[in-house]
Amino acid sequence: MSIVDLTSMGESQAELRKEINDRLSRLQEDVSDYCYQCAKCTSGCEAHKLLELEPHKIVALLKRGLIDEMVNSDIIWTCMSCFKCRERCPQKIAPVEILFALKNMAVASGKQIPGKYSTILQSVLSMGLIQDIQEVTMRDTKTKKRGDLDLPALSKPSDPAKFQAGLMKIAVEKL
C-alpha cells in the first residue's frame, strides 16, 4: 500500500520524517503532526510577503512525509529566522525549526547552498559576527565609527581555531 503525490510522483518518506521529527522534538514543544493548518504562521511570515515561503505548507509536507520535495526546493533558504511563527503558533509548533532541519539536511547531502550563506558562514567563523560592523550614518547624514561614539572596539576571537572548534561542537550538539 502506498500514497503517491501525482504531481511529483513523490512517495511518503516515513523514515526520514521520523528522523526529522525526532530531531525537532528536542527543539520545539510539539511535533508537526498537531498542526491543523490554520496558517497563522504564513499570515505573519515576513519571507512570504517577499518570496513565497509558506511555512504552513512546509509543516503539511512534513506531515505527509514529502521531504525530498522540500530539500530540493529553494524556498527553504528564504526563511529570515524571525521566529514569529514559533512565537505565535497556537499548537506550539515551530516551522522555523523545521526549516533549520531541512537546511541542515540539504547541506549534509551536498546540495548547493545560496552564495550569501557561505559569506555569512565565513564571517561567523572568522570573527564571530555575521558581518563586519560598518560605519553608521546618523540622522544628520554624517557617518560615525564606534570610536567616535566612545564605544570600545569589538572583541574578536583571540584563538580562531579554538573558536571554530567550539562553534562546530555547538552545531553538532544541537542538530
Binding site: 510539539d30 491543523y36 496558517a39 499570515s43 504552513h56
Partner: protein
C-alpha cells in the same frame, strides 16, 4: 481470627468483561486458583457478571452452596459495587459482605504481560477473600431530607433549574451575585440559529422566577459558607447592601436620574461601552425591577458627602433609599444544590498580536452584541467606537485563544455560530454594500439547524477566509490584517474599519475559590468537573451538588437549558424522598478506647465529629460523615474505626499475600 474465618463460606465470581479482562488475564487459571483458597467453597466465571445471567449465577450459587460472603473479581467498585450489592442482597447475603476485587483497571487494562497480570490478579483475589472472611454484616440507617433546593447563579441555567424544581413543588432559593438575574443571555440581542430575540424568550422566564410562589430570590448576594451534606445542607448567604429598600422601591428611576454620577460610570452590562450612574438598574428588563446603589462609586458612601444631601435620597418619593443598610447573612436549609455560575470571556489582551488594547475599533463578540442590541449604548446602531461612524467593512477573527495550546486548549463551541449570527445581523442592519470578512480555522456548525444557518450566511456575500491572521495592525483610521487563505493558497491583505474578535470561553475568575468552598473538583481546564462525562454529566463528586451550564464547560443556550433541566431533575430525585439511606461504611468510635483528645474533631473536613461534653468521648454524625478516613488515620488511640475497613480486616488482607 482463624476461628472466625473457618466459619465463612465464600464464593468467588470472576468476570471476563467481554474481552476487557479475559484478553490480558487468564480467567480460567484465576478461577481454578480461587477455588483452592481457604474459605472458598465455590469459584465461577462468566463473560459479563453484571448481566442478568451473571446475577442469576451469583444468586444461584449463594443458595446452592449456602454462601455467607461473596467476592466479585471484575471492574472498579465505582462501576458496579452497587449492582453487585443488590444482587447479593437478593440472594440472601448481607450486601456489605461483598468484596469487589478490581482486576480490570488494576490488572488487564494497565499491564501488557498476560502472565504477570494473571499473577497479580491472583494476589488481589487472594487478599479479597482474606478480607471477605472478616466482613461484618451492616445495616443502612436513614436521615430526613430538607425538601428545599439552592440554585447558585441566575443565568439561563439557574433560571431553568429553579423553575423546574419550583414547578415540581420544591421550595427554591435562587442566589445571584449581580443586582438582576438574567446572566449572559440577557446581554445578547438575538440567538442562533433561529434568530429568536434573546430578551423576548428570556424575560418571560425571569418574570416567572420573580412571581413564582416557590422561588425566593436573593439578588446582589453570594454564598458565603456551606455546611452539612446531601439532604441537609446549611448555607450562609451574604446579602450585599443595596442601599435601596426593595420593598419600597417601585423602579421608577428617579434616583438614577438625580444621581450626581449619572452617565459617568462604565456599565458592566454594556461591556464598559455604555454609561450608568451610581444609582442604577443594569438593564430595563431587570428582575427584580429595583435600583441598586453602587457602593464602590457612590459619592455619599465613598466620601461621606454628595452635595448638601444625597441627590437620590431627595429624589425618591417612596423614601426607599437607605444608606444605613448593612451586609446581612441569611441561613438557608436545603437538601440539594444546583451550581450554575456561568463563564467569563478570555480577555483578548493576552494575545497582544490582535491589538485589542491598541484600538477601540477592535472589539469582542460580546461588545458587538451590545452594539447590535436596541437597549445597548448606541441604541442598536452599529458604530465604530473611535469616530462614531458606521463601518464600511467589518472583519471577524475566530478562535481568539481557543484551540490554542498557549491559551485555552478547548473549542469554545459557540464562537463559530455566534460570529455567523453576527454576520447575518450586520448584513441586515448595514445593508448589502458593507464588506464582511470572516477569518476562521474551521467552522464547527454541529447543532440542529446550524449547518443550514452556515449555508445561508455563505450566501450573504460573506468573504470567508480559511486562515488565522497573525496580527492586527492599527493604522489609525483603519485596521490592517494579513491573512493566508488556505482555500485559495493566497496571502490577502484586508483593510477594514472594525475588527471583531471571538474570544475563548474561560471559567469564572473565582471558580477555584468557589470550588474550594463547595468541595467541588475542577477539571484540567478550570471548569467544574462532572462525576462522569457520559453517565453522570450533571453530578459532582459531592453528593447532592449538581452542575449545569457553562460552569461545567462551554456550551450554547440549547445545551445549557437541557443540562439545567437535567440537573434539576437530579436534584429532585433527592428532594422527593422523605428519607435518604445512609451508607454504613463510615467511621464509628470505640467508646471504651476513646480518650476524648478531640484530634478527630479538629481533623474532620466535613464537621462530622463532635466531642460529647458530658462523656468526654468523640461522636460521629452519621449524616455528615463521608467515610473519608481522616479521623481513623489521626486517632492516636485506635478508637476511630472505619466500618468494614478495620485494622484487623486490612491486616488480614496483607498477611494473606505476603
Amino acid at each position: 481470627m482463624l476461628g472466625e474465618s473457618y466459619m465463612r463460606r465464600i464464593g468467588v465470581f470472576v468476570c471476563h468483561c467481554g474481552v476487557n479482562i479475559a484478553q490480558n488475564v487468564d480467567v480460567d487459571a484465576l478461577t481454578t486458583y480461587a477455588s483452592t483458597l481457604d474459605g472458598v467453597v465455590v469459584a465461577k466465571q462468566y463473560k459479563y457478571m453484571c448481566s442478568d445471567v451473571g446475577a442469576t449465577l451469583i444468586k444461584g450459587s449463594i443458595k446452592e452452596h449456602k454462601l455467607d460472603g461473596v467476592v466479585v473479581a471484575a471492574c472498579s467498585p465505582r462501576m458496579h459495587e452497587h449492582t453487585f450489592r443488590e444482587v447479593v442482597n437478593d440472594g440472601g447475603v448481607n450486601p456489605y459482605q461483598l468484596e469487589i476485587v478490581n482486576i480490570r483497571e488494576q490488572c488487564s487494562w494497565i499491564h501488557s504481560d498476560r502472565k504477570k497480570a494473571t499473577e497479580k490478579a491472583k494476589f488481589l483475589v487472594r487478599s479479597g477473600v482474606a478480607k471477605a472472611k472478616l466482613l461484618e454484616p451492616l445495616q443502612t440507617s436513614t436521615l430526613k431530607v430538607t425538601p428545599n433546593a439552592l440554585v447558585i447563579g441566575g443565568g439561563i441555567a439557574g433560571i431553568q433549574a429553579s423553575l423546574d424544581l419550583a414547578n415540581d413543588g420544591f421550595k427554591v432559593y435562587l442566589v445571584e451575585r449581580e443586582p438582576s438575574i438574567g446572566g449572559r443571555m440577557s446581554q445578547l440581542d438575538k440567538t442562533f440559529p433561529t434568530l429568536d430575540c434573546s430578551s423576548c424568550i428570556l424575560t418571560p422566564k425571569m418574570m416567572e422566577v420573580a412571581n413564582h410562589q416557590n422561588i425566593e430570590l436573593f439578588t446582589y448576594a453570594e454564598v458565603a459558607d456551606i455546611e452539612g451534606s446531601i439532604g441537609n445542607y446549611t448555607v450562609k448567604v451574604r446579602k450585599k447592601p443595596r442601599y435601596v429598600d426593595i420593598d419600597k422601591c417601585t423602579g421608577c428611576g428617579d434616583c438614577a436620574t438625580a444621581c450626581r454620577l449619572k452617565d459617568r460610570i462604565a456599565s458592566e452590562f454594556d461591556m464598559g461601552m455604555g454609561k450608568r450612574g451610581a444609582a442604577y438598574m443594569p438593564f430595563p428588563q431587570a428582575v427584580p425591577l429595583k435600583y441598586t446603589i453602587d457602593a464602590e462609586h457612590c459619592l455619599f458612601i465613598t466620601r461621606g458627602k454628595c452635595g448638601d444631601k444625597p441627590a437620590c435620597r431627595e429624589a425618591c418619593a417612596q423614601k426607599a433609599i437607605d444608606f444605613d443598610q448593612k451586609e446581612e447573612i441569611v441561613d438557608l436549609k436545603v437538601g440539594a444544590i444546583v451550581v450554575a455560575t456561568g463563564y467569563d470571556l478570555l480577555n483578548p489582551e493576552s494575545l497582544y498580536e490582535y491589538g485589542y488594547a491598541n484600538s477601540p475599533d477592535v472589539i469582542t463578540t460580546l461588545e458587538l452584541e451590545r452594539l447590535i442590541s436596541s437597549s445597548g449604548p448606541t441604541k442598536g446602531e452599529i458604530l465604530r467606537l473611535s469616530d462614531q461612524q458606521e463601518p464600511k467593512s467589518v472583519t471577524f477573527i475566530l478562535c481568539i485563544g481557543s484551540r490554542d495550546e498557549t491559551q485555552c486548549t478547548w473549542c469554545c463551541r459557540i464562537g463559530c455560530m455566534s460570529a455567523l449570527k453576527h454576520v447575518y445581523l450586520l448584513r441586515e442592519k448595514l445593508g448589502d454594500d458593507v464588506e464582511i470578512n470572516v477569518c476562521y480555522t474551521d467552522i464547527r456548525s454541529y447543532g440542529k439547524g446550524y449547518e443550514e444557518f452556515y449555508r445561508n450566511v455563505r450566501g450573504l456575500k460573506t468573504n470567508m477566509f480559511r486562515g488565522r491572521p497573525s496580527e492586527v495592525c492599527n493604522m489609525g483610521d483603519h485596521q490592517k490584517i494579513d491573512v493566508f487563505d488556505t482555500t485559495t493558497n493566497k496571502l490577502f491583505e484586508i483593510k477594514t474599519d472594525m475588527v471583531v474578535l471571538v474570544p475563548a470561553l474561560v471559567p469564572r475568575a473565582d471558580a477555584g475559590d468557589f470550588a474550594r468552598l463547595l468541595h467541588l473538583t475542577l477539571s484540567g481546564d478550570g471548569f467544574f468537573l462532572e462525576a462522569h462525562p457520559k453517565l453522570r454529566p450533571m453530578d459532582t463528586f459531592v453528593n447532592g451538588i449538581f452542575i449545569a451550564g457553562c460552569c461545567q464547560g462551554p456550551k450554547d443556550i440549547q445545551d445549557t437549558v437541557s443540562q439545567a433541566s437535567g440537573a434539576a431533575s437530579r436534584a429532585a430525585t433527592i428532594l422527593s424522598k422523605e428519607e435518604l439511606e445512609i451508607d454504613p461504611l463510615i467511621a464509628v468510635v470505640d467508646e471504651e478506647v476513646c480518650t476524648g483528645c478531640g484530634i478527630c474533631v479538629e481533623i474532620c473536613p466535613y464537621e462530622a465529629r463532635i466531642l460529647n461534653e458530658k462523656t468526654k468521648i468523640a461522636e460521629v454524625n452519621d449524616a455528615l460523615c463521608t467515610g473519608c478516613g481522616a479521623c481513623i488515620a489521626a486517632c492516636p488511640s485506635n478508637a476511630s474505626i472505619h466500618r468494614n475497613f478495620t485494622k484487623k480486616q486490612l491486616l488480614n488482607m496483607v498477611d494473606d499475600i505476603i
